[in-house]
């Protein structure tokens, strides 16, 4: 139909930010919210007498096409062009921070010594697990020529819990991550805190 623009969200027009950093070369991302319920069945009835909420859990996974550290600089130094927006430091999980880079300042900042940003990059380093903070993953819809942000979902207080790498002769190296989160905000609701002050205890 003439004059109708692409409307729906697809992998091609979605944008993912992790730790406030655009997660480039992400091929897929999934998330799920599970609200466990009990269905009490009492004497004298066939159907459940109620459906009682018991717990709320958020989890999901994402996959990233990997490229290595220093490939960009090496190729460009020999006169080749490289894909747009690739990082000279590679896109490993250790660089999923605003402060990626090998200079001293970036290393100090990415160590978490300063700032209050999430530190996904520490989720697979045993020496940093205890002090690694939670972080957020945000999913947006991109619109061309438009500065307004259209959020779809925000996973709050995330921690990575599993990483799998996979390579074969017919495809690029893919790293698959699984995560758990405390909350999932949608574009039509905020997942508010459910308790009555326990977070302050």
């Amino acid at each position: 139909m003439a004059g109708v623009a692409p409307f729906f969200i697809t992998g091609a027009n979605a944008k993912i930010k992790l730790n406030g950093v655009t997660l480039a070369f992400c091929t897929d991302l999934s998330y799920s919210v599970i609200v466990n319920h009990a269905t009490p069945v009492v004497l004298g009835m066939y159907e459940a007498s109620s459906i009682e909420p018991l717990s709320y859990k958020v989890s999901g996974g994402l996959t990233v096409v990997r490229y290595a550290n220093n490939v960009k600089e090496e190729l460009e130094s020999k006169g080749y062009k490289t894909p747009v927006n690739v990082s000279p430091d590679g896109n490993g999980v250790g660089n999923w921070t605003k402060n990626s880079g090998q200079d001293l300042g970036s290393r100090i900042l990415s160590s978490g010594a300063f700032g209050n940003d999430g530190r996904a990059q520490e989720n697979f380093n045993p020496s940093k697990l205890q002090n690694g903070t939670f972080f957020d993953i945000e999913i947006y819809q991109k619109m061309p020529q438009d500065g307004e942000i259209r959020g779809i979902a925000r996973l709050r207080n995330v921690r990575l819990v599993r990483m799998d790498g996979r390579i074969n002769k017919k495809s690029t190296l893919m790293e698959q991550f699984q995560f758990q989160a405390i909350y999932l905000d949608g574009d039509s609701f905020i997942a508010d805190f459910s308790g009555t002050g326990q977070q302050h205890e």
């Binding site: 009990a38 009490p40 109620s50 459906i51 009682e52 909420p53 018991l54 717990s55 945000e138 947006y140 942000i149 259209r150 959020g151 779809i152 979902a153 925000r154 905000d185 949608g186 574009d187 039509s188 609701f189 905020i190 459910s194 308790g195 009555t196 002050g197 326990q198 977070q199 302050h200 205890e201």
Partner: protein, 212 residues
């Protein structure tokens, strides 16, 4: 009305007003809806307070109320003549995670070695947060045991056992009408009068047997 969702929340005064309107309408719709809501207690909707302070790191609480009776056994009667109330005892357990620095002793819930003889009773309150109904309350409890467990690949847990003197729940305890006085017209209903009556009946029964 604004959408309160991620990145669509309006800032400024308009956003605040919209949020307030959202909250009010959300609350009203919850009140006037005719649809059923969850009604059974569960761990998620239960709050635990010790010494009037919310215990945010507890994951379980249980209590047992024993109302003990002994049988009044009489000669030539294979049924109990009376169940005589003898004692009420209350005990239970609380399961918690251990946040370093907030042990049961540090929180003044359990006495330490020097305060053991002087430690005050603690209060324990279990309440349904959805209805604000009191599920269990005692103001004279002591921690009688604490078992802590730390294991690889698991969170550390603490199991506290308590004993208490008396309890109340959704209903405030009341003395039954007539129980305060043996001379009252309703005294026949009191436990003491029943005991006297049972004694009389036992005596008369025995007299009937041995009087022949």
């Amino acid at each position: 009305m604004s959408k309160r969702g991620f990145t669509n929340e309006k800032g400024g005064l308009g956003g605040v007003v919209d949020s307030v309107v959202d909250n009010i309408l959300g609350g009203v719709s919850g009140i006037v809806s005719t649809k059923p809501t969850a009604k059974y207690t569960s761990g998620a909707r239960t709050t635990l307070k010790i010494n009037n302070k919310l215990v945010g790191f507890a994951f379980s609480v249980s209590w047992r109320i024993n109302t003990e009776y002994v049988e009044n056994r009489t000669i030539d009667d294979y049924l109990a003549n009376e169940l005589i109330p003898t004692r009420i005892s209350v005990d239970g357990t609380i399961g918690t995670f251990h946040i370093p620095g907030q042990s049961a002793t540090a929180a003044l819930i359990q006495p330490d070695v020097l305060g053991f003889l002087f430690h005050k009773y603690i209060t324990i309150e279990v309440r349904d947060s959805a209805t604000d109904e009191l599920l269990f309350y005692t103001n004279k409890a002591v921690i009688t045991s604490r078992m802590e467990s730390l294991q690889s690949e698991q969170l550390g847990t603490v199991q506290l056992s308590f004993k208490a003197i008396g309890w109340k729940d959704e209903r405030e305890p009341e003395v039954p009408a007539g129980a305060a006085s043996m001379n009252d017209a309703n005294a026949e209903q009191s436990a003491g009068s029943r005991l006297v009556q049972a004694g009389k009946e036992a005596f008369n029964k025995a007299k009937g047997i041995f009087g022949k």
